[in-house]
Symmetry: C2
Subunit: 401 residues, 2 copies
């Protein structure tokens, strides 16, 4: 039996209790059997407890990264270099770049290879303070390869310590052999893939854009997914204002993600439909765009904004939530406090896990991080370094610098 | 006596020899007495060598960061949060923010306190692959406090392992008690500070802006510094196009730094005057500006562009050269190869150290980094993580993950 754990001298114990930042100065966190037993300032510690002295450091919930594409073959550093040189989208596409290049490499990889590559990258998440990630398929685009990706995610989650929430994203791109008849690919998704991924996926996501899965196709897929019992997420309003936000609300989606092109009417639709916005500033950064999603308007509309990395080999090769906090503070006028709520409890809500993770409260899973700083705002401030001193999942130390 | 060292199985040994990227596949690096003894593919290794197996990783020169402000009291996270909230410059100034807030805290700190705080931050540089930094004074703004800062830098350099090149920046801001008579402060710099910093500083820098040290004041200070035998650097064309580039060329400056507002005529002046541009994209990023310096035009004009962090507690709280490489590739259309030259050999040139550091060539100091990736371009690609596996200064391993 593992000894219970007392984390003492937390200079700032940032609990995020009740959906607020809630800082306990010089706090103590007690953990028993992987669950938070007590959180507070004056907490009695029995002799059976193992002690972890945070020595004045900041202790926070592990980040919950609610939008990632962590399973893929190869990387896209060639395309990254071409874009740096100023190559146009057409040139990159002609050279075989874009999502389809990762599709080719992912199809060519075995399930074991995909798991091994993702396991190495899982360390990056733990090193930067993330303990749970939403993980999408979407680089297979055949029944077999989409299932291969979702089985890989299942194995990664079972192996731990990083925790995965699986999302089926068969509707990520129209595969080459369906270019002439995209609706036949929608048929394939609805009739064959969705029934097959039952038990492998918790959510279904669609990349809703006029030239790919337009609003009608996206809505058809999402309604079919809902009938299968899947939660719904949508890549929405990224490249154009398409009406995906309103569609997400109609379909009962849990989240609408990206939203760089959304307007006030779209924000109103999200609010009315209780759809959470998931903002992905690292992809805006990586693509060299200047147009970040209007985070402040969404916060002012009362929306529980989520921040995520969008980790993927093309448009967002960063696994770092601290970097996303920095982007939120410097490019989107979110305060560090707002950004941390967006990266913890709001993200957990969007994954139907707010009762279990995303804050440090008695009875919740003991997923927490000791950051090597004295003030939680430093996480968004010092940029380009890994601020984590130690990461814990279910009360077990899974990473220490 | 230390044993000689053989670093074997360098998947890419990026030598930067001759000012080109020059990659040796599966290379070997031999080090003896802190100096590079051999670099190549088929290198004989005697039995006396200690072996470091890079296991296919990228091995490169340590980054040379040619523009930093690493010695300061306190931090400016309060101001960072205010700016995130959308506070205007005036509001921040009224709350005591800006450079002057760091001046107050730096004056209040003892030399020992400044050294201790900077020593902790020195780890961040080593962790992200930097082995030499240029280090400016400029938060003292009195004879006594400027000398205190430069003595702190001297002690930091002597303590190592991070190496410092000291720059006197008394002309960083007009101190409060000289607001009414800026020229009297210039008198103080020229008549008292410059003679006093002899032996403590290698370079003199001036923040040249119309409202602070205008072109005339800046030129007066730089000419006096030159007479003292100091090399010259200039904060130029950051907030306005002031003619600082032309002045830097006239005064014989080694570098002109920032340059976000420069135009073609200014670039021509730098080229004609053999002034190296030092570009600081992390401060553009931190301030939420969209206007990066025109790097491509400078490269096309044949200028040996330098990239640096501008590490400081206000406008650039990042010590990470990998993050600067990412900014260069995603925001400035520099290729990873161009960015690496700018962060190594070009930077060493700008500090009069190209004969000693900045590349891996026989006879040079053995400052090198083993990066945990297979392709040097990944340093600019994967963002927000620390890519370093191990850092060596003068052949000694000073950091390992």
């Amino acid at each position: 039996m593992t000894r219970p754990l007392a984390v003492i001298h937390c200079g700032q114990l940032v609990t995020v209790a009740g959906g607020q930042l809630s800082i306990i100065a010089d706090g103590t966190l007690l953990v028993r059997d992987g669950v938070i037993e007590a959180v507070g300032r004056d907490v009695a510690i029995g002799p059976e407890y193992e002690i972890f002295d945070a020595a004045g450091r900041v202790v926070m919930p592990g980040f919950v990264d609610a939008h990632t594409h962590p399973v893929f073959g190869g990387n896209r550093v060639d395309e990254f270099e071409m874009r740096a040189r100023g190559a146009a989208y057409e040139e990159i596409a002609a050279a075989g770049g874009g999502i389809r290049s990762t599709v080719r490499k992912t199809r060519a990889a075995s399930e074991d290879e995909l798991v091994a590559a993702a396991q190495r990258r899982a360390q990056w998440f733990l090193r930067t303070g993330t303990t749970t990630i939403e993980a999408k398929s979407g680089y297979g685009l055949t029944l077999e390869d989409e299932c291969k990706m979702l089985r890989a995610i299942k194995r990664l989650n079972e192996a731990g310590p990083l925790q995965y929430v699986p999302t089926f994203l068969g509707a990520h791109e129209i595969p080459d052999d369906f270019r002439a008849s995209p609706d036949s690919y929608v048929d394939l998704i609805v009739n064959e893939m969705l029934p097959a991924v039952k038990g492998l996926a918790e959510f279904c996501d669609v990349f809703c854009e006029p030239k790919i899965f337009n609003v009608e196709r996206a809505e058809r897929i999402l309604r079919a997914a809902r009938e299968q019992g899947l939660g719904l997420r949508v890549h929405a309003e990224q490249l154009s204002r398409s009406g995906a936000a309103e569609m997400a609300a109609r379909a009962g989606a849990k989240t609408a993600d990206h939203l760089e092109q959304i307007d006030d009417a779209g924000i109103d639709a999200l609010a009315a439909g209780h759809v959470q916005p998931v903002l992905l500033p690292a992809s805006v950064y990586t693509l060299g765009s200047k147009r970040f999603a209007p985070a402040r308007k969404m916060i002012e509309a009362g929306l529980p904004v989520v921040l995520a990395t969008d980790f993927n080999p093309g448009s967002s090769p960063t696994p770092s939530m601290p970097f996303v906090l920095s982007l939120a503070a410097t490019q989107m006028h979110m305060t560090p406090a707002e950004a941390i709520l967006a990266a913890t409890i709001h993200a957990a809500q969007s994954l139907n896990r707010a009762g279990r993770i995303g804050s440090l409260e008695t009875g919740k899973q003991a997923d927490f991080v000791v950051h090597d700083c004295e003030d939680y705002r430093e996480l968004a401030y010092w940029t380009g370094i890994e601020p984590v001193f130690a990461t814990f999942v279910r009360g077990e130390r899974v990473y220490q610098r």
